[in-house]
Amino acid sequence: MSTRSVLFFVLIGALFISSVAPFAWQLIASLKDSSEIYSVPVTYVPAKPTLNAYIDVFKSRPFFRYIVNSLLVSLGTTSLCLVVAALAGYALARLRIRYQGALSFSILVACLFPQIIFLIPLYQLMAWLRLVNNPLGLLLPYVTFSLPLAIWVLMGFFKTIPREIEEQAMVDGFSRLGILTRIVLPLSWPALATCAILIFVGPFAWNEFIFALTFMTRDLSRTVPVGIALLSGTSMYEIPWNQICAACVLTTVPLVIFVVIFQGRIIEGLTRGALKG
């Protein structure tokens, strides 16, 4: 092997290890028992691997409830956002509308500001609508802030569908709505699936923190990221680190599997979305 390809594989190895090491370390820590986690020097292989931390975290906190809340909010966000974005994306990609350019640009602008900008008035709005501690109080902002990317990705895809298909459907007597729901959307299912994945793992569904921290004040309404963040330190009693790590592993394993399966789709989806604009 030439020095060049040796260097290449060393770099690839370093990249792989640095990407998974913090996660692997969580996994190792979660398998230790309560005394080993606080032993010095640090052990790299659990002496007596145990799943106790996983059982304890469900006992000490309503962790199952957090998972249900998160699933409810993020699946709701994904489906609602997909519907709204598909309608708007189709209109912006295909139909003749005045000020089209300005419209699509102003939609994109919404994701140009950090969340803290919106937090105070949104909290007041949610309090006024009595949506504090209600999953809808998260659903609405999540859908809204996921919209720009979703619309952008879908717009890019709708533009690649040949116009002739729609013209032929018009001749065949389909209504405008019929063309959209019975021809364009079924044709676009790969793009819709990609878009759903991007919304779900994007910053505003499963992973969102600051809105969830602020709008969900009751313990039983919290989502997983907030529930986990409050496990460490700031709570009334300290939770052992092996339980914190177990909680982290529990919420990350499904996402890791998800990413491994859909890696190609995610990269392709963001590729379309990011550069066609």
Partner: protein, 284 residues
């Protein structure tokens, strides 16, 4: 129904959501920033902010965080994208592994790093001790400069994959013939990178810069988890200061004035980037 009416009907749900959830809060914040406990007070909040040392420190922290983490993410992201661009055995696995930090909740990964940097039981101290680089365990998250370093490490680790994806997309759009033409001229790897790759990657780099830049200006999750702004407020960014002003000191007017200033900063940043983005692209 005409085509335009139908089109507008389709966009209305999206526009309504954006108007109520995104546009209204911006206008409302602007309005609130001239009030105190509901009373109109003119510019007095802004005058106080001008003399507020904590706000000045938080702004400096935010700027420092922005100007270290964003360039690092861009450089590493471009490097990794070049590395992962070609075909090799196991590319899918490495790409998937590299995407993991991006797909996981920021707070969860911040917790992982908090545990790694733990002074007594952390693996980072343990490795440094074993390698003989340090003699005594260091309280990484308990010392101002070191805590800031830890936050940067966690944030960069989490965000490089996002830049990688955008740059990979940009690399795909560069025609191969350009490289072939240049290798006929006998150009080396570095020259190919400098003369073709980098100029043609400009749109992708700017897209990554916009997204990462605005997120870095509003950094919250990772710092909230790792240090809570400490020790002694040394890692507190503007967003954390705003958050405690609202929910700990219950001073909505003052916090809104800070939001307005932060908004103007983000707007300025977006305008600069947009201006650069829309300048005439390089042509070959």
């Amino acid at each position: 129904m005409t085509e335009e009416k139908f089109g507008i009907l389709l966009i209305v749900p999206a526009l309504c959501l954006l108007a109520v959830i995104a546009l209204y809060p911006i206008v409302r914040s602007f309005h609130l920033s001239f009030t105190e406990s509901g009373e109109f007070v003119g510019l007095s909040n802004f005058v106080s902010i001008f003399h507020d040392e904590r706000f000045r420190d938080a702004s400096l922290t935010t700027l420092l965080f922005f100007s270290i983490s964003v360039p690092l993410e861009l450089i590493l992201g471009i490097g990794v994208a070049l590395l992962l661009q070609g075909k090799f055995k196991g590319r899918g696995i490495v790409r998937a592994a590299h995407l993991i930090p991006w797909a996981l909740p920021t707070v969860v990964m911040a917790i992982a790093w908090k545990w790694i940097f733990n002074d007594a039981y952390g693996v980072f101290n343990d490795i440094l001790l074993r390698l003989g680089i340090i003699r005594e365990p260091i309280a990484w998250l308990g010392l101002p400069g070191k805590a800031f370093f830890c936050i940067i490490v966690a944030e960069v680790w989490k965000c490089v994959p996002f830049v990688t994806i955008i740059i990979l997309a940009g690399l795909q759009s560069i025609p191969r013939e350009l490289y072939e033409a240049l290798s006929v001229d006998g150009a080396g790897y570095w020259q190919r990178f400098r003369l073709i790759t980098l100029p043609l990657l400009r749109p992708a780099i700017l897209v990554a810069l916009i997204f990462r830049g605005t997120q870095a200006l509003g950094v919250f999750d990772s710092i909230w988890v790792m240090t809570g702004g400490g020790p002694a407020g040394s890692t507190e960014p503007i967003s954390l200061y705003i958050y405690s002003t609202v929910f700990r000191y219950l001073n909505i007017g003052y916090a809104s004035s800070m939001v307005t200033i932060a908004f103007l900063f983000s707007l300025l940043f977006a305008c600069i980037v947009y201006f650069v983005l829309t300048r005439r692209p390089v042509e070959y």
